[in-house]
């Protein structure tokens, strides 16, 4: 009997590995030992004991619970799951057949990627009906120019399916939230934060920046106890302790801090991201010797540190400055920076751009960015669009070749970007 359970346990650990938990031999041995001691009678007790051994965070606990409930099931539950799976498989087969029938033009399958076919299968019936009706409406044109018609249908379908794919990905974010609300806020798109979540997000930022600042100060402390001995200072300090060299002094490297020039897009949807990003960067006490901040939409304004102190003041400033609710013109903003005298951009400056790259007159913006890259010591771009969507956005592909672009769609990515900034 016991060997049957242990065999089951081995299968279960394999399942946990498939679910992404790091389960090693040590954990499996621990689980065996603890089950032998506790017994197998009480299902919940077995769950808690195994969870303590296999799941090492709140997120992992949720994964574990799902796996446990799926694996250790009663006969009735097994039957119910089997019936549900069968129904799901039948439904998927029906949708697949429908997709094969719908996604073809003139008897030939449409040339679209497999993942988009899958999106079509998972889409709601209403959405699929929309596409079917569109095809029906445009059918009379099929004989006029068959090739043109095929290309048209393909491009419309591609755009529609990509949009649906993005919506599905965004919708899946809610699942993470169910696991761990606080950590979920770290990995959620900043643009989707609700008003009531903003205080929590602000508190998280304060906590992370505190941590980053602490890391920096520890690194400095350690650096002060390493390297070449400073004889003069060591001997002078030794005089305090009667000539004994009680405290050693080391030569400190002169730290060269950078000058930071921040250029923040505050047009429409970018406002929330810029607020968070600025809050992050400004809280890093050691990020730069001095910094200047410029806000832009169609025009550009320099903003003083006082206006950035709290979110309400920042929003009010953006609204009063006339930048809010207008389009984005990065070319003009960079042009103004380049022409400023005394020069804002020079080799000691790091230009940090906070924008989603959606700008009017992209070629002009590209040329201005190239010029800014030539003048500034370093150009970094913090982009709030999730990295997975970059290949589909032409302006990101263009700007990405001209400077280093870092994904910052979530607080976690923003923290990582800031860490790179201070290193």
């Amino acid at each position: 009997m016991r060997s049957v359970y242990l065999e089951k346990l081995t299968e279960f650990t394999h399942l946990l590995r498939l679910e992404g938990l790091a389960v090693g031999l040590a954990e499996t041995a621990d689980a065996c030992a603890i089950l032998e001691a506790l017994g197998f009678e009480d299902r919940e007790r077995v769950r808690w004991a195994l969870r303590a051994v296999f799941a090492k965070s709140q997120g992992e606990q949720a994964v574990f619970d799902r796996a446990f409930d799926g694996f250790f099931v009663s006969q009735e539950q097994k039957e119910a799951i089997r019936a549900r799976k069968k129904a799901e498989a039948e439904e998927m087969a029906r949708r697949q057949a429908e997709a094969e029938r719908d996604l073809q033009v003139r008897g030939q399958p449409l040339d679209i990627r497999d993942d988009l076919r899958e999106v079509y299968m998972k889409m709601s019936d209403e959405k699929r009906e929309e596409l079917r009706q569109l095809m029906e409406r445009t059918k009379p044109n099929i004989d006029r120019s068959p090739q043109l018609y095929t290309n048209f249908i393909r491009s419309v379908f591609m755009r529609f399916l990509l949009e649906q794919q993005m919506l599905m990905e965004d919708a899946a974010v809610g699942v993470e939230e169910a696991l761990d609300p606080e950590m979920a806020l770290m990995v959620r798109d900043i643009g989707t934060f609700r008003d009531e979540e903003i205080p929590r997000a602000t508190a998280l930022i304060a906590r992370i920046t505190q941590q980053l600042n602490a890391e920096l100060s520890v690194r400095r402390q350690h650096a002060a106890h390493r390297g070449a001995l400073d004889f003069r200072r060591t001997i002078r300090r030794g005089l305090e302790t009667g000539g004994s060299l009680y405290r050693l002094s080391f030569r400190r490297k002169r730290r060269k801090k950078r000058r930071l020039v921040l250029l923040c897009d505050v047009s429409g949807s970018m406002l929330q991201f810029s607020e968070f990003a600025l809050r992050f960067i400004k809280s890093l006490s050691d990020v730069a010797e001095s910094s200047r901040t410029f806000l832009f939409s169609e025009a550009v304004r320099e903003v003083d540190a006082f206006s950035l102190q709290n979110m309400d003041a920042f929003r009010q400033y953006v609204k009063d400055s006339g930048l809010y609710g207008r389009g984005t013109d990065l070319g003009t903003a960079l042009g103004v920076l380049l022409q400023m005298r005394p020069a804002v951009l020079d080799p000691s400056a790091t230009l940090l751009i906070l924008s989603d790259t959606k700008t009017i007159d992209l070629p002009r913006a590209g040329r201005a960015l190239q010029e800014a890259g030539r003048l500034a010591g370093k150009v970094l771009w913090l982009n709030p669009i999730p990295e997975g969507k970059w290949p589909y956005v032409g302006s990101i592909r263009t700007m990405g070749t001209l400077c280093q672009m870092l994904p910052c769609s979530t607080l976690s990515e923003l923290a990582q970007a800031c860490r790179r900034l201070v290193q």
Binding site: D30, L38, W48, A52, R200, Q210, S217, Y246
Partner: protein, 308 residues
Amino acid sequence: MDFETLRQKLREQHYICDDQLVTTVLVALQLGRPLLIEGAAGVGKTEVAKVMAAVLDRDLVRLQCYEGLDESKALYEWNYQKQLLSIQVNMNRQDPDQLTRSLFGDEYLLERPLLKAIRAEKPVVLLIDEIDKADEEFEAFLLELLSEMQVTIPEVGTVRAKTIPFVVLTSNRTRPLSEALRRRCAYLYLQYPDVEREVEIIRAKLPDANERLAVQVAEAIHKLRENDAILKKPSIAETLDWVAALEALGITDLDQEAFRRTSGFVLKNSEDLDAAEHPPEEAEGADCGCGCGHDHDHGHCHHHGAQA
């Protein structure tokens, strides 16, 4: 120790907990693994270590972590001043080599909590509190201690544990801990207790408290914790303080006036006080979020007499 004994002993120490906590602590004890407890501030993580020291009849050795904590504060430090004095006193009396060797003996070693825990003659409970506040370097250093129960002191060599301590690590999750550290521990995530359990805790810790007041306070605390606008959620200790304060003031019913007079015991910053007293406008019939534990019809808060 078996499950029932442990549960009984925890109850004897007035520690009210569920079976999940008992099972997890038992797993850590049986496997000889450190117990990593995560959860929000004030859910009773540190208390687990204190109670376990009493349950196991062991001394509690506590290491409070903070930014910049290093080996010299956590493990050991040489008594440099004493060493200097010794050099000056014995300079002409002793063979220099022998003098050098004698400088790195027990006499000059200042034990810090970790070394104290593993060199203790009787096993202890070692509490490494708020490990998330320490740096990643320190976390890496802890790995040797937690996995091998030994530490290396360059001047002395490897010190093996004389007795194996029961190690409890706590974290408020201000930063994620490394996978390596997590893998070496049994893991427990503690959540705030539900209303019934919180009433039980009040009963256990303050047996003379008014039963009705205890229920009212537990319900109010539960509502405050659910209120998203409140950033610093009230801890269990604050619940007990609040009940004690209300009792001391002779209050037997938690009404609006009582809440206003004593809210400082549970809400510790002006934003939270403001959020509890002036919640944002909500749908008709919704709870006002004041934490007073009543529903409000027609969008009015009877307690505050204000539009909800």
